[in-house]
Subunit: 184 residues, 2 copies
């Protein structure tokens, strides 16, 4: 299975592609960080992100796209840019008929480091180790995009097992709100 | 000049097209509200919005696109959907080389009613009057999209005059922060 992870942003948007199967070593396919100048208008910046995403999708033809789920608690400007770049990634994947999943930063950190509160550096160290790289991917957006892809590979496998198990249980027996919630 | 206004949203996304020149009556070209089911995943919903936007852009070939500027003070879920649908509109316009402008809800209300605190109904009444329509465009998203287009027609003319005047003043004489800020 091949997953393309996106750490969305306007100033820097990380795109990382990883191959893997549950229970087997994972490997790096490609990683790229799109940068768009803050002096450009928002249309030109989003278009810059879209073009590189399209190029990576066409080159690597992933089976799934994983995008960071954005919350609006943080800095307004940053959150808006992140939400906008994320939307460009989501709609690009949908246009190609590729399933899209959203993972929170703490889900990603927990997946690769074992702790949802890990710092950037710890995520970078684990991404380097898990993908058996010679050096840590830089900038942090590159490592974060790869971490998203790894998180999706692993959670995808776990969710598939959970769904298979849940399919055997009548819906009325499931705890309230146990259905996976999308980012709507 | 032809302006396509977008009141972004996932559940309902208003798209309104208006023709006009400063100092002359304005006229309705087309108005449409895209609806996407909350049960669909985010990728399918954004794709639904993108398709209708592309159709309207191809049909009406506007000179400019005006999108509502989103703030993240409000409900998190709603704001995210609005930011995502807005990003899809901005990048679609940029792809076609059409200039994009963002206007705040209070700028739009002030443009069509004279008050930045006008309610939805007042905006609807004025849109109906200004475009000489027989009935108020429904739902409110349709009227809001048309109000955005009207706001842009009028503010565009005013901004062009201001820019022309400012071009004659050395930049150092302009008050700090007087340059128009984009939504980055």
């Amino acid at each position: 299975m091949r997953v393309l992870g996106v750490d969305p942003g306007l100033t820097r948007c990380g795109i990382g592609v990883v191959d893997g199967q549950p229970g087997r070593p994972i490997s790096l396919v490609d990683v790229f960080v799109v940068r768009t100048p803050p002096t450009d208008d928002i249309g030109a910046r989003l278009l810059g992100v879209e073009r590189e995403l399209e190029r990576m999708l066409a080159t690597h033809r992933p089976d799934a796209v994983a995008v960071e789920r954005v919350f609006s608690q943080h800095n307004v400007r940053t959150v808006m840019g992140t939400a906008q770049a994320g939307a460009v990634a989501i709609v690009a994947a949908a246009r190609h008929g590729i399933p899209v999943a959203l993972h929170t930063p703490s889900e990603v950190k927990a997946a690769v480091t074992g702790s949802g509160r890990a710092d950037k550096d710890q995520v970078g160290v684990m991404v380097t180790r898990l993908l058996r790289l010679d050096a840590m991917p830089k900038p942090a957006d590159a490592a974060d995009a790869l971490a998203l892809a790894i998180c999706h590979l692993w959670r995808g496998a776990a969710n598939a097992r959970l769904s298979a198990a849940a399919a055997k249980v009548p819906v009325s027996r499931l705890p309230k709100g146990s259905a996976q919630k999308g980012w709507r």
